[in-house]
């Protein structure tokens, strides 16, 4: 069976217990590098954060030195001049009087051989960028708190904490990437980072939901530790995680390559680099950071510690993946657990099987399950169409 085929069927058997040790070390190193770079190199803050004037004009074929010599006469010879995108000349200088600003605008228009109305000017007070940053940080703090509360209610607090740790890790490393490579930080970048937060959480929730679904494998059967169960869950949702990340990353890459690279839209570049960095780090962290942190938190619980100790005493290898239960056994376990399950103990809408009376082939899977306690979706309003008796599929 090819590796891809196994991935496609969720049958990979990657030993995440081992992988996590590496990812945690890897993440630790990245975080340290990020912090070091932040403290030594700092960030390349754009004009929006320092205050000043920025002129932009589309001037095909004009070089930086040509622009510089043209601007010397208006005293902007030492200004920061870049060619951004494919043919846009961008000049950045300190704050200026409106007259001076208009002078430079005229000069640039002459240089590009165009009307003065085609020159864009952006004047920024020194406090504008810091205002945006301040409000972004405030939004970040509130976001952490809100997500912590929300996930604690919908899943459980340990998962919430693990998710927040992962998001924090994402933000730190994304900022670190900007510091190491000295990409310019603009308000667009800040926006993009904020978007990433929701994304990172999305992946983590998909994984956590699966873990919740499999949790009974630990308690009821006692065949595996929480860590082993989580590793199993990771293997099962691996393709899901990969595909959600890939379909999110493809449009962003298109933005970066087509929008910014080929067509030269500067603002798109600012957005898409930050989005790409954040998406990649976010996809990685939901597997490589959120999960091991969750396992660490969960295995400290007395219940899970007892299971682990018992299994270890029985001579079961608790440091590597447990033998994989087959699909058949999964279903059986699920039924047992649902039969005995304390209705209040677990998330009610987590994964109760639909009462499904058209399961002639699998009588063992249809227990006397009461109707779903609380349907999560309005879909409960439309009951499955009863099958005609005796019809074969």
């Amino acid at each position: 069976m090819s590796r891809l085929g196994r991935l496609n069927r969720g049958e990979t058997n990657i030993d995440f217990l081992k992988v996590w040790k590496r990812t945690l070390i890897f993440s630790g190193v990245l975080v340290i590098i990020s912090l070091l770079s932040l403290f030594t190199r700092g960030l390349n803050l754009g004009i929006d954060f320092e205050g000043g004037v920025s002129w932009e004009v589309s001037a095909p074929g004009v070089s930086v030195s040509e622009a510089r010599s043209a601007l010397e006469s208006v005293g902007e010879g030492s200004a920061k001049i870049q060619i951004v995108g494919s043919d846009i000349v961008r000049v950045q200088g300190p704050e200026a009087t409106p007259e001076h600003e208009a002078e430079v605008r005229q000069k640039l228009a002459d240089l590009a051989g165009t009307d003065v109305g085609n020159v864009s000017v952006s004047t920024v007070g020194a406090s504008w960028g810091s205002d945006i940053t301040k409000s972004a940080i405030r939004a970040l703090v509130f976001f952490f708190i809100a997500i912590l509360i929300y996930l604690s209610i919908r899943l459980e607090w340990r998962m919430a904490v693990a998710a927040i740790v992962a998001v924090f890790h994402d933000v730190l490393i994304s900022v670190g990437v900007y510091s190491v490579f000295q990409f310019e930080v603009t308000p667009g970048t800040v926006i993009a980072f904020l978007t990433i937060l929701g994304y990172s959480i999305y992946d983590t929730i998909v994984v956590d939901d699966k873990i919740k679904e499999n949790e009974r494998l630990v308690g009821q059967s006692g065949r595996m530790t929480y860590g082993q169960m989580t590793s199993l869950s990771m293997n099962q949702v691996l393709l899901r995680s990969l595909n959600t990340s890939i379909v999110s990353i493809i449009p962003v890459i298109a933005l970066l390559v087509v929008g910014a690279g080929i067509m030269g839209a500067v603002t798109l570049e600012e957005f898409s680099i930050a989005l790409l960095v954040g998406l990649v780090v976010g996809a990685y962290s939901s597997i490589g950071v959120a999960a091991p942190v969750l396992v660490w938190l969960k295995e400290r619980e007395p219940k899970n510690r007892t299971i682990r100790e018992r299994l270890a005493a029985q001579g079961v290898d608790v440091l590597h993946n447990a033998p994989r239960p087959t699909g058949q056994r999964l279903l059986e376990v699920e039924d047992q657990s649902h039969g005995r399950r304390d209705p209040g103990a677990l998330d009610p809408d987590d994964d109760a099987p639909v009462t499904d009376d058209d399961q002639p082939g699998a009588p063992s899977t249809t227990t006397t399950q009461a109707p779903r306690p609380a349907a999560p979706a309005p879909s409960g309003a439309i009951p499955p169409r009863p099958r005609k008796k005796g019809r074969k599929r």
């Binding site: 945006i132 972004a136 379909v247 449009p251």
Partner: protein
């Protein structure tokens, strides 16, 4: 009708999408492009200190008045927290626009040459004027103008509404300026050149005179020649009744305080020389009018001191280029991601792309409607948000399809797995989408400017994803998995083949056929 059971939501959502799109196209609603996409001027003003909410609204009203006087189409002036965001699309005189909104108006002190009855303006076309109308202004010069056949002032009757043009304020020479009470013209004054400006003022306050229980306004000038010196020079002339500041009927000459081309007060100068902080303007002030005058003296016309945080002039060409780049990049991304989904999930992949189209139709309608009716502009940040939301939407499909595959793989029939997988994956989707919504709501609530646009579109598309996931994806996948043709060849669905239906217990061994790769 029974055969439609469970599919109503599908029929409804498709109908809604088609109808809303038709309506949008028929009514000519179009998304309103933001400044970064169509060019124009954008200014962000931030008040200093912590002003009252009402004074910011008042400032917005005054700024709007000024921009209207500029005669541009559809200026957009919005309040974001305490900040004021002014966006003027496609304006021609960009510098003038920025100057108008970005700076507080200049406060001028000008000697009063004569006071005219407002009827010279309001009744300019009629030659007979009721002299009784001039009783409110006891200025004898008013009567001389009643014989004037035409309006010498050049002011229009609704000058208090429209404001003055730059020429009419004529800083260096003699001109006619209106004195308004709200939008009513109270009086017209002929004034001389500007004697000094608000720059000479340090501060001003309204005080209640304990003895007379009357409100007075006390301006405090800066010391030195540029402050009180200038004022005293003007005051001396007015007190003496110099030709440049002739004596009025009520005594010595008057000095008009002019703001935004309007006379806000014209006190009589009762002394030749003043101490910088010993000046009082008295008159029939109420508490309100005294405080208003003090504020005007302090800050210029705006009731709060505003600082220009950011000003942007976007060239129309650069904006258009950015729009094109965004659209083409979005299209390329859409095609690539469609190919990926179809390669992986075959028919189900196609269905997920159709879901994108339904969401797209709804999104376009909402954006166009809000753009046309509520002035919500689509910015580049918004376009990025929408492109990103392609991923959000497809994520839901991936979560569902993978769950479906897993259930079938674990031995369920495709049919039963369709419902079961939807329930658990929809629960996941709701959790994840609500987390995104929380993020978007916080961004909208706590930030300003471009971030808000982004948050709005992210939230909007997340909501649409929730809606279409339930109303479209659930029934359409059900339809697909009930189709006999597709069930015979599950690989077309990107789902592994069903486990054979044994009579007894299934064995652990499963056939490996039917996988997509």
């Amino acid at each position: 009708m029974r055969r439609f059971r469970g599919y109503w939501s599908l029929i409804i959502i498709v109908l809604v999408a088609v109808l809303s799109l038709t309506y949008t196209l028929a009514s000519g609603n179009k998304p309103l492009l933001g400044l970064d996409l169509q060019g124009g001027v954008s200014v962000v003003l931030q008040p200093k200190g912590t002003p009252e909410s009402s004074s910011i609204d008042e400032a917005i009203r005054i700024i709007r008045q000024r921009i209207d006087a500029l005669g541009v189409a559809e200026p957009e002036i919005t309040r974001q927290g305490n900040n004021i965001l002014i966006q003027i699309p496609g304006v021609k005189d960009k510098d003038r626009a920025i100057e108008l909104v970005g700076q507080t108006a200049e406060l001028q002190f000008r000697p009063v040459l004569a006071e005219l009855d407002p009827s010279v303006v309001t009744d300019a076309t009629t030659t007979t004027v009721d002299p009784g109308a001039s009783t409110t202004t006891a200025d004898p010069t008013a009567s001389t103008t009643t014989t004037a056949p035409s309006n010498p002032t050049g002011l229009s009757p609704d000058v208090c509404k429209t404001g003055l043009t730059g020429e009419q304020t004529n800083r260096e020479g003699t001109t006619y300026l209106p004195q308004c009470d709200g939008e009513t013209l109270v009086s017209v004054l002929q004034v001389g050149p500007v004697a000094l400006t608000g720059g000479a003022l340090d501060t001003a306050r309204a005080t209640l005179n304990g003895q007379t229980t009357k409100w007075t306004v006390s301006p405090v000038f800066k010391g030195g020649a540029d402050g009180i010196g200038l004022f005293n020079a003007a005051a001396a002339k007015c007190y003496a009744g110099d030709a440049t500041c002739p004596a009025s009927a009520s005594g010595p000459g008057r000095l008009a305080i002019v703001l935004d081309g309007r006379v806000i007060s014209a006190p009589t100068i009762n002394e030749a020389s003043f101490q910088a902080d010993q000046i009082q303007i008295s008159g029939n002030f109420t508490e309100r009018s005294a405080k208003d005058l003090a504020t005007s003296l302090k800050y210029g016309a705006l009731p709060v001191e505003l600082e220009q945080q950011q000003a942007q002039i976007v060239s129309a060409t650069l904006g258009r280029d950015a729009l094109h780049a965004g659209l083409i990049a979005g299209l390329v991304g859409l095609i690539l991601v469609s190919l990926y989904m179809i390669a992986f999930y075959r028919v189900l992949g196609v269905l997920s792309i159709l879901k994108l189209f339904i969401e797209g139709a709804l999104l376009w309608s909402v954006i166009s409607y809000l753009g046309t009716n509520n002035g919500l502009a689509l910015t580049l940040a918004g376009i990025t948000g929408i492109i990103v939301s392609i991923g959000v939407s497809l994520d839901s499909n991936v979560v569902y399809y993978e769950h479906l595959k897993e259930d079938v793989h674990d031995g369920r029939t495709i049919r039963s797995a369709t419902d079961r997988a939807f329930h658990s994956s929809f629960s996941t989707i709701v959790k994840a989408d609500v987390a995104s919504l929380i993020g978007a709501a916080l961004l909208w609530w706590l930030t300003v400017g471009p971030v808000r646009g982004f948050a709005f579109y992210l939230a909007l598309s997340t909501l649409l994803d929730l809606l279409t996931s339930w109303a479209y994806m659930r029934p359409v996948v059900k339809l697909a998995t009930r189709s006999k043709g597709l069930l015979r060849r599950p690989s077309l669905l990107g789902i592994p083949a069903e486990a054979p239906q044994p009579t007894g217990r299934r064995t652990a061994a499963r056939p490996s056929a039917g996988a997509t790769r």
